[in-house]
């Protein structure tokens, strides 16, 4: 029975991904991609990876979807008319069709070889889950994924926050776009009411997610994504203006989480190696880092949407 459900989910995943990439209408492609993101969240839940399901729903489908819809809005002015038919189908001429056919063939062969290889795999020699379980006591948290994310492979997470910060800095480099000003239109009263109702709840549950991360699925990334969602909602309800290039305080907020993480990492060098939490204070230090990250990730993820999102002035 389980495999039937998984099978259906996999078919839905493949179908929505295929339609998202091959549909002629750009708007339909973006919406189908958001459906694909939500189905991915279901798939992670089925693979009993609740942390990833949370992140996929909040970041993969939610924030990426919002960014894509925003980009779509800029490509065609808000006339609501169906998007100019940018043909997703391969070009009609023979050379184009042959090229498409050969690329599809190569991709198909690669998929077939990989699929065949998956069935030949021997059992892995190194069993990391046991090692994680064995060292959980010294990790300072009870939830294995948070222990791996912040302690065992904390160095990955340090670099990953740097990746997010550098993406935002890349956005700042580009400055205001010369695109058509987005048509603001009259504010939707119902959306304003919903925003006022939901945002406090979102901030509360972000705090809950941050706190729960120590012993249940949750953590800084999911909490930060929720804060970003709150900011996006406020902006759509026109209660929060778009951000121009950030001032000193906002820059501190954006880089603050990363600087805290960096500072703790450097200070812990005295313990013998980078990011070596003394077992006694490990839990407290991880919570400090996660709290700083939640605020900064919330601001950065919100910034990816809000920066220069307003009516751009001509350069």
């Amino acid at each position: 029975m389980n495999l039937l459900l998984d099978g259906l989910l996999v078919l839905a995943l493949l179908w929505s991904a295929w339609r998202a990439l091959a549909s002629p209408d750009l708007a339909r492609a973006v919406v189908l991609f958001i459906v694909f993101g939500l189905l991915m969240a279901l798939a992670w839940a089925r693979l009993n990876a609740p942390d990833i399901a949370l992140a996929e729903a909040a970041i993969g489908a939610g924030l990426t979807g919002a960014l894509l819809l925003d980009a779509l809005g800029r490509l065609q002015p808000g006339t609501g008319a169906p998007a100019p038919e940018s043909p997703a189908q391969p070009p009609a001429n023979r050379a184009g069709r042959r090229w498409t056919g050969s690329v599809a063939l190569v991709a198909g062969l690669l998929a077939a070889a990989l699929a065949y290889a998956l069935f030949q795999l021997p059992a892995p020699t190194v069993r990391l889950p046991e090692q994680v379980a064995a060292n959980m006591a010294a990790s300072g948290v009870d939830h294995p994924v948070t222990a791996v994310l912040l302690n065992f492979r904390g160095y990955d997470t340090l670099l990953e926050v740097a990746v997010l910060l550098i993406a935002l800095i890349g956005l700042l480099t580009l400055g205001p776009a010369a695109g058509r000003p987005a048509a603001p239109g009259p504010a939707n009263p119902l959306l304003k009411a919903l925003a006022r109702l939901l945002v406090p709840l979102m901030i509360l549950s972000a705090g809950y997610l941050l706190w729960a991360g120590a012993h249940r699925p949750g953590g800084a990334f999911q909490a930060g994504a929720l804060l970003a969602a709150a900011a996006v909602l406020l902006h759509l309800a026109q209660l929060l203006p778009a951000w121009a290039s950030p001032g000193r305080l906002l820059r501190l907020g954006l880089a603050g989480g990363f600087l805290i993480f960096l500072g703790v990492a450097a200070a812990l060098l005295a313990e013998g190696a980078l990011l070596t939490y003394p077992p006694a204070q490990a839990g407290g230090l991880i919570l400090l880092i996660e709290a700083g990250l939640t605020v900064s990730l919330g601001l950065i993820l919100a910034g990816l949407f809000l920066l220069f999102a307003g009516a751009e002035e001509r350069p």
Binding site: L3, D6, V10, L13, L14, A17, A20, L21, L26, A29, V30, F33, F36, M40, A43, W44, L47, N48, A49, D51, I52, A55, E56, G60, L63, T64, L67, L68, D70, A71, S86, T100, V103, A107, G108, A111, L114, A115, L118, F119, P129, V132, P144, V145, V148, L149, F152, R153, D156, T157, E160, V163, A167, L168, G170, L174, A177, G179, F221, F305
Partner: protein, 90 residues
């Protein structure tokens, strides 16, 4: 044929679909969609293979969490660059 292996197979197919999409599609926004599909496929293979004989393995799950955040960072930068291209030939 455990659930993990099934999802790993789905991941392989999604990866091939995304890779084909990146090469074939001409509109930049579609290529960004294809990249995200490809990334999701690779993540599915990472967790699916690691959990092919049951049992949740937190290490690949933490890696995928890192990967999802990296993917959204890259997508946001790509969309910002897309905004700078002249509208006629995205």
């Amino acid at each position: 044929m455990s659930a993990g292996l099934l999802y790993a197979l789905a991941g392989v197919l999604l990866f091939a679909l995304g890779l084909g999409g990146i090469v074939l599609l001409r509109h930049a926004l579609r290529r960004i969609l294809a990249f995200n599909v490809m990334g999701s496929g690779a993540f599915l293979v990472l967790v699916g293979l690691a959990q092919r004989d049951g049992g949740a393995d937190p290490v690949p799950q933490a890696m995928v969490l890192t990967g999802i955040v990296v993917a959204v960072a890259a997508t946001a930068l790509a969309l910002a660059l897309l905004r700078r291209l002249p509208e006629d030939r995205p």
